[in-house]
Amino acid sequence: MTAVAQAPAAPVRVHTGKVTQARVIKSEWIKFRTLRSSRWSLVAGVGAMIAIALLFSLAMKSHYPHMSAARQREVDPVADPMRGVFLGQLAIGVLGVMMITGEYTTGMIRASLAAAPKRLPVLWAKALVFTVVAWTVMTITAFVCFFLAQSIFSSIHLNKTLSDPGVLRAVFGEGLYLTVVGLLGVALGAIIRSTAGAIAALFGILLVLPVLGEVLNLTSWGDHVNPYLPSNAGQQIMALTTTSPDMKPWPGFLLFLGYAVVAMAAAAFLLKKRDA
C-alpha cells in the first residue's frame, strides 16, 4: 500500500453541519417558496374559490326574490357559496402531486436524496411544509369566502353566522378537507412518480369513484360502500345537513385522513425501497 502512503494527507476541514429533520424541513421550505408553479397553484385555488363564492351569492341575491317558496327553502347560504371547494381541490391536489413529481421529472430528486440519503426526512419535510402552507391558505380562504357570501346575503336577510349550528365546523372543515386532498396528492406523487399518472389517480379516486359508486346504489351494496369512499367520507365535514346517515362529519373526515395516512405509509415504504 505504498501508493496510499505517498498520497498527500487529506486536508483538515472542520465541518460541524449534520443533516437533521429540521434542516431538511428548512430546505423543503426554500424549495417550495422558490418555485413559481407552487405560488401559481395556490393563487389559482384561492382565486377560483373566492370567484365561485361571489358568483353563487351574487346570483342568489338577485334571483332570490323571484323564486318560488319551495325553491327558496332549498337555498343554503353556507353550502352554496362553498362549491368553490370542488375547483379548489383541483389546484391543491395538483400542487400536492407536483411537490414530489416535479422533482422526479426534472431529476432534482437525485440531488435531494443525495443530500439527505436517509430519504424519509425528505418525504416528511415535504408533507409538513405542504400541510402548513395548504392548511393556512385554504382555511383563510374558506373563511374569506364565508364572510364575503354572508355580507352579500345580509341584504336579503339570509345570512348565517359562525355560531349557527354546524357552520363553524363546515367552514373550518373546508380547509381541512382541501389539505388532506393535497396530502393524498403528495403520497400518490411519491408512489407513482409521474405527474400525469399521479394526477389521474388522485382525481380518479376523488371524483370518479363516487360516480362509479352510484351504480352500487341500485343494489343493497351501495349503503355499505359509498359512505366509505374517500371523498364521500371526507366531504361530510363540510355538510350542514348530514347527507349520509351512516357517516357523521368528524368520523368521515378521520376516515379520509386515514386513507391519506395509509397512502403516505405506502409512499414512505416505496421511497425507502426503490432506486431513486
Binding site: V24, S27, I30
Partner: protein, 342 residues
C-alpha cells in the same frame, strides 16, 4: 477513498454491473472509463446510495454513503443528467441543498463565483445551456467542501475554455489530497486529466491501472522506418521477438525494438534512414482495443475494434474476435462458433 467490493446490479435479467471491485485513492484524479452502457452511471449511483446494489457493497471514507451524518461534506457529486428543478434559480437550488446540512449562505455565493455563474445565478435553471448546467452541477458538488468528488461526464457540453477549466480544477482538487473520481467516455480527455484509470465494459472490470501502464499494456508500440535499403535493414533487424512488416515500398513497421536500437543498428551498418518514428498507441486506441468486445451497442456488421486479442481483466487474456481457437484459453466450441459467425 472509495472502495467497491463485488458490486453487482441487475435490472430484471439484465446485468448492468457485475462483480466490480476497485479502490479510488485520494490525491490523484481517477478516471472511470467505459463505452456507453458499460455501467459507469449505475456504479456512481450506487456509490451515492441512490441505487441499491443487488449484491456487494461500496463505501466512501469507510462507511456506506447513507451512514454519513453529513454526506455533502463527505462526497460532492455531479450526476449525469441535470439533477436540478428547471423552475428554480441556480442560487435558490444551491441554497436549498445547503440548508439540508446547515451550510451558510456565504458558501453558496463562494461556489457560484468559483464556477463562474455569477451573472446567471438569479436566472431559472430551465433556461441554462448544457455547459451552464454542468457548472451548476459542479457548484453543488463543491458546496460542502467535500473530501471526495464524484463527477459523471463533467466535460459534456463544455466549450474548450470550460474543458480546460475543469481539467485544472480537478487536478487542483486532487492535489489538495481529495479523492476525485471522474467518468468519461472521452479517452483523450482522460489522458490529459487522470493519472489512474478504472476501465469497465459491460459492467465488468477491464483494467485498474495507471494511464501510462494502460497504454503500454494495451498495445506494444511500433516504429515506422523509411529507408532506401529496406530489404537489408529488415534482415538485420530480424530476431525472435521482433516483427517487421511492410505495406509500402521502402517503409517498415517494426515491433519489438525501440527506435534507439533501430537507429543504432542502421548506423552501425551504414544504412541511410529517411524517417525513424516511434508510434505509441494513444489512449483512444488502447481503449478501443481493450473494450472492443465489451461494447454493448454497435451497428450491425461493424467489426469489433479489438484486433486479435482482448484483455478481459488485468493479466489474463483470451482470444476473442479471432477465428482461430488455437489460443488454448478457450476450449468451448460454442464460443468459437459464435465468433466464426460474427
Amino acid at each position: 477513498m472509495i472502495e467497491a467490493r463485488s458490486l453487482t446490479k441487475r435490472y430484471g435479467d439484465k446485468t448492468a454491473v457485475s462483480d466490480l471491485s476497485f479502490t479510488v485513492r485520494p490525491g490523484v484524479v481517477t478516471g472511470f472509463l467505459g463505452p456507453n452502457g458499460a455501467g459507469k452511471s449505475t456504479t456512481m449511483r450506487m456509490i451515492l446510495g441512490l441505487d441499491r446494489p443487488t449484491s456487494g457493497s461500496v463505501t466512501v471514507n469507510g462507511k456506506a454513503y447513507a451512514e454519513h451524518s453529513a454526506p455533502l461534506h463527505e462526497v460532492g457529486a455531479l450526476l449525469e443528467a441535470k439533477a436540478i428543478h428547471t423552475g428554480r434559480t441556480a442560487y435558490n437550488h444551491l441554497l436549498a441543498l445547503a440548508a439540508t446540512t446547515g451550510i451558510e449562505r456565504s458558501r453558496v455565493d463562494e461556489v457560484i463565483d468559483l464556477v463562474g455563474l455569477r451573472d446567471v445565478a438569479k436566472k431559472r435553471a430551465g433556461g441554462f445551456s448544457l455547459g451552464m448546467g454542468q457548472r451548476l452541477g459542479i457548484a453543488s458538488a463543491l458546496l460542502g467542501d467535500p473530501d471526495t468528488l464524484i463527477l459523471d461526464e463533467p466535460v459534456n457540453g463544455l466549450d474548450p475554455e470550460g474543458i480546460l477549466w475543469i481539467r485544472n480544477l480537478l487536478k487542483d482538487l486532487a492535489s489538495e489530497g481529495r479523492t476525485v473520481f471522474v467518468s468519461s467516455h472521452l479517452m483523450s480527455e482522460m489522458a490529459l486529466t487522470a493519472e489512474h484509470l478504472i476501465v469497465i465494459g459491460q459492467g465488468k472490470l477491464i483494467a485498474d491501472t495507471s494511464v501510462a501502464e494502460f497504454i503500454s499494456r494495451a498495445s506494444t508500440g511500433s516504429v515506422k522506418v523509411r529507408t532506401p535499403d529496406a530489404a537489408k535493414l529488415r534482415e538485420l533487424l530480424a530476431g525472435p521477438d521482433v516483427t517487421v512488416s511492410s505495406s509500402v515500398e521502402g517503409t517498415l513497421q517494426v515491433q519489438g525494438l525501440t527506435s534507439d536500437r533501430i537507429g543504432t543498428i542502421a548506423a552501425e551498418n551504414r544504412i541511410t534512414l529517411f524517417e525513424l518514428a516511434p508510434h505509441e498507441a494513444s489512449l483512444e486506441e488502447a481503449f478501443m482495443e481493450l473494450t472492443g468486445d465489451a461494447v454493448e451497442y454497435r451497428a450491425p456488421g461493424q467489426k469489433s475494434a479489438g484486433s486479435a486479442e482482448s484483455a478481459e481483466t488485468v493479466g489474463s487474456t483470451e482470444p476473442a474476435g479471432s477465428t482461430k481457437p488455437a489460443g488454448g484459453a478457450s476450449d468451448d466450441p460454442t464460443t468459437t462458433d459464435v465468433e466464426v459467425n460474427a
